[in-house]
Symmetry: C2
Subunit: 460 residues, 2 copies
C-alpha cells in the first residue's frame, strides 16, 4: 500500500496551491506526448491534461503510446506555465494497439462529428463529448434537484404498455415469440403478456393517476417513436421530462417551465464554465454558432414571447401569403420565419391555444370548442422543446372526445375513470430533454448529445 | 384573485405555530367525513389529513362524498387535539361517482395489497402507497445525489440494442413490422433498424465505454427480462443502478456499495419518519414483519458478513448434506439457510469469488481460472440486491472466453476493442432498485413498490 494520496486532475487543478510540492498519485491515460519525457495525462475528470515529466530509465525504454493507462507517483511542482508532476514511479497497464489508435478518433487531430459518431465507443475520450456529457449530466441531475426542492414526487411510469398515450406517433411492438417461426401464425395470446405490447410514447396517462393521489408528480425516462424520421432533431429513443400538477392551470405550467429552463441554464453558466468555454470556442470554429454563451445569457434575462396560435397564423400569413392554413401544425419552415423575421430576438416563443385537431385527446378545450388550453415552447434553432396543456377534467367531455376520435376505449378506461373522482383541474407538460441539451451545447445534430443515439437503421 | 396564501397540508403541519389564526387556502380532496360539518382533507403531500369545519349553509346542501376535490378558504385554528380549518368559502369541483367509490379501494376500510393491485390507477390515494412511493422517490433522488457528490457522471445507456449484454436472461424483441401480416415472412432487414432489436437487460457494456473516457460513470434506468418468472421478487421491467469505475478493484466496489446502502438507509430513517412509522405499524399488523425500523437501524450499524463462494458451499453442505454442488448458483432455499441458520443476524451477506460458469463473460477470472473476482450482496428476506465484479481487462482473455461461450462476437466487437486501449483495471456493480425499495419498505411482494408493475400476463 502506498502512503501517498490519490487525486483526480480536476481536483489538482482546483487545489494546486494546497498540493504543491507534495508527492501524489495520479491515474489516467496518455492523451499525447513529446518523446518519452513529457506526457500529457488525462483522467476524464476534466478536459485539461496534467503534464508529467519522466526521468526513469526503466520506464523510458517502454513504448509510450497515445491512450496507454498509467498510475504515476510523483511530486507536484511549479513550472513556468503552470504545474506539472515530476514522476518517481510509474505503472503501465498492458499495451496499446497502435494500428487501432491510428485509425481511431483518439489520434491527436480534428475529427468531424460524423466521424466521432462512427466510433461511439471511443467518443467519450474526446474533449467535445466529455464537455457535452458533463453538461447533459448537470442538466439531468438539476432537473431532479429542482423538482425535488419543489416537492414533486418522481414516478417510474412503465416503459412497456398497451396504450398508445397520445396517438403521438408510431409505436414499437414488443414480443417474446419467435418471429422467424414460419409455421405458426403470430398470436399475441401466446405472448408473455397475453396481449399486444408496445414501447411507451409518453408516461402522461399513468402519471395523471399518480397526480390524483400525490398532487405534484413527474416522470423522467426514455420514450419511443417508431416513425421513420431521419432528421437532426429526431431520435427513435429519447428522454422526456413530464411533470403533472393538481390544481395547476395553463399559466402555472408556463411559469413552471420557464422557471425550470432559466434555473437550468443559469446553473449551467455558473457550474459548467470549463465545458461551456470549450463548446463556445468549438462552436465558433466548427459549428457555425458564433456566440453560444451569449445566447444562453440572453435567454435567462429576457421575457419569452407569448402569442396565441391564431395570432401566429395571421402573422405568418402576413409575411408570406397562404404559407399556413388555420389548423395546420407549425412546422420547421414556419419556425424559421418566426425566429428570423417575426421575432428575431433569439428568445423562446410560447404559442398557446392550439387547435384541438392537432393536439391529443386529453387536452382541455377552450370555450370556442375549436382550440385547446395548450402551449408549445419553441426555441431558436431547435424548435419545440416543451409541449403542455390543462387536461380535460370532465368525464363526459373526455369520453365524447375519445369516441369521436375512435380511440380504443378498452385500454384506457382506467384513465377515463379517474374523472369519476370529480373534476380536479390539473396540467402538465413534456420537455424533450435531448433537445434541451442540444440547445445548451449548441450542437445542430441531436445524435451528438446522447451517448448511443438510436434512430432508423441505427442501433448498437 | 384571492389575497390569501395557499399552503399544502405537510407545510401547515410543520409550521402550524407560524400560520395559526391566519386565513389560508387549502386544496385537496375529502378523505372522509362525519355529516357535512367535519371533513378530513388530504392533498397528497402527507398522509395526515387536515380537519375542516364547515359552517356554510349553501355548501351544507351539497352532497359531500369521499374523494370530492375542494378548494377551501378558512382560518387555521387550534382545537383540543391539534389544529383545524374553520372554512369561510368552499369550492367543489364536479361530482363523485358514488357507485365507483363504493366498489373502489378508496372506501375507508382495510384493503388487501392484492386488492390494491387490481386498482393501480387509484392505489396512489392510499396511505400505504403514498408512503411507499415517497420512500421510493427519496431513494431514487438520493442515489443520484450520492453519486453526483462523488463526481460520477450519469450516462443514458440505450434501452433498445442488439446485444444481449450478459446472457442474463431472455430478451424482448422489438419490431415495427406488422406481426399479423400472414402473407409475408418476417424479415428484420425490412424493420426500422434493419436488424434484430431487443430491449436491454443491462447497460453494463455501453457503460464501460463511457468509463474509458470519463472515469467514474453510472447508469440508472429500466432494464428488461422476458423470462416467464412469476415470483414475489421478479418483474419483467425493473430499475437498475449500475456504476462503473476506472481503477477500482473488487474491494473498492464492496466499499462503494456498502457505503451507498448505508447512506440511503440512514437518510430514509432521518428524512422519511412519517412514512417509515406508518410502514412499521402497517407491517406489524398486516405483513408479518415485526420490526421494520429496528431492522433498518441494525443494517446501518453492523459490518456485513463477507464470505467466499467456496466457503459458503461448504457451510451449506455442513447444515444439510448435498444441498448444493460446487458450481451451482445460490438459490432462495440456500439463502434461507444462510440467513436463518448460518448467519442469523439480519444483516446482508457479501459472497465473493463466484464460479465463472454462473457469471457473465466480462467478469475477471481469478488465478484459479475457475472463479471470478465477483460479489453478490444478499439481503435478508429479499436475496440478491447487488451483483458486481472486476472486469476482464485483457483483450486475449476476453476474446478467448467469448469464443468458448459461443457468444456472437459481431455485435460486441466494439466492446472487445475497448481492451485495445490497454488493460485498465475497472469494476462495477448492478443494484436492483426495486428490491432495495422492497427491503426498506418491508413489502414482501415486489409488485407493491412500483407504480405499474410489469410481469408475465400483466401490462397496463
Amino acid at each position: 500500500m502506498y502512503k501517498y494520496k490519490f487525486y483526480n486532475i480536476k481536483y489538482i487543478n482546483k487545489n494546486k496551491k494546497k498540493i504543491l510540492n507534495k508527492i501524489i498519485i495520479i491515474k489516467g491515460w496518455v492523451k499525447f506526448f513529446r518523446n518519452n519525457y513529457f506526457l500529457e495525462i488525462n483522467d476524464g475528470s476534466t478536459i485539461n491534461n496534467l503534464q508529467v515529466i519522466i526521468n526513469n530509465k526503466k520506464f523510458l525504454k517502454k513504448k509510450i503510446r497515445i491512450g496507454i493507462p498509467l498510475k504515476i507517483i510523483g511530486k507536484l511542482i511549479k513550472n513556468k506555465n503552470d504545474i506539472e508532476v515530476y514522476a518517481y514511479k510509474i505503472k503501465m497497464y498492458g499495451n496499446i494497439d497502435k494500428e487501432f489508435i491510428n485509425k481511431s478518433i483518439l489520434q491527436n487531430k480534428f475529427h468531424s462529428r460524423s466521424k466521432l459518431r462512427q466510433q461511439l465507443n471511443l467518443r467519450f475520450r474526446t474533449n467535445l463529448f466529455n464537455c457535452i456529457i458533463k453538461i447533459r449530466h448537470f442538466l439531468f441531475i438539476n432537473i431532479h434537484n429542482y423538482l425535488n426542492l419543489k416537492e414533486f414526487i418522481y414516478i417510474n411510469t412503465p416503459i412497456i404498455n398497451k396504450n398508445n398515450a397520445e396517438g403521438a406517433g408510431e409505436v414499437f411492438k414488443i414480443t417474446t415469440l419467435n418471429l422467424l417461426d414460419k409455421k405458426s401464425k403470430f398470436n399475441c395470446k401466446k405472448d408473455l403478456f397475453k396481449c399486444k405490447a408496445n414501447l411507451t410514447v409518453s408516461g402522461q396517462l399513468e402519471l395523471e393517476s399518480a397526480m390524483y393521489g400525490l398532487g405534484k408528480v413527474y416522470t423522467f425516462g426514455p420514450v419511443f417513436r417508431a416513425d421513420n424520421s431521419n432528421t437532426k432533431k429526431h431520435l427513435s429513443e429519447f428522454w422526456m421530462l413530464e411533470p403533472e400538477i393538481m390544481f395547476y392551470k395553463l399559466k402555472d405550467i408556463i411559469k413552471l417551465s420557464v422557471n425550470l429552463i432559466k434555473y437550468l441554464i443559469k446553473g449551467t453558466l455558473k457550474n459548467c464554465k470549463e465545458e461551456l468555454n470549450y463548446l463556445d470556442e468549438y462552436n465558433k470554429r466548427y459549428n457555425n454558432c458564433k456566440n453560444l454563451i451569449n445566447r444562453l445569457k440572453n435567454i435567462i434575462k429576457k421575457k419569452y414571447i407569448k402569442i396565441s396560435y391564431n395570432k401566429t397564423i395571421k402573422l405568418l400569413n402576413n409575411i408570406k401569403r397562404n404559407i399556413i392554413n388555420w389548423g395546420d401544425d407549425i412546422g420547421s419552415e414556419h419556425e424559421k420565419i418566426l425566429f428570423n423575421i417575426v421575432f428575431p430576438y433569439e428568445i423562446p416563443i410560447i404559442i398557446y391555444n392550439y387547435p384541438k385537431k392537432i393536439k391529443p385527446f386529453y387536452m382541455k378545450l377552450n370555450k370556442d370548442k375549436k382550440t385547446t388550453k395548450s402551449i408549445d415552447i419553441l426555441f431558436p434553432y431547435i424548435g419545440e422543446i416543451i409541449g403542455g396543456s390543462e387536461r380535460e377534467t370532465s368525464y363526459n367531455k373526455l369520453l365524447d372526445r375519445i369516441k369521436k376520435l375512435k380511440i380504443n376505449i378498452k385500454n384506457i378506461m382506467w384513465y377515463i375513470n379517474l374523472r369519476k373522482l370529480g373534476e380536479i383541474p390539473h396540467s402538465g407538460f413534456g420537455l424533450g430533454f435531448d433537445r434541451l441539451v442540444q440547445y445548451i451545447t449548441g450542437m445542430n445534430n441531436i445524435r451528438d448529445i446522447i451517448p448511443y443515439p438510436i434512430y432508423p437503421g441505427h442501433i448498437f
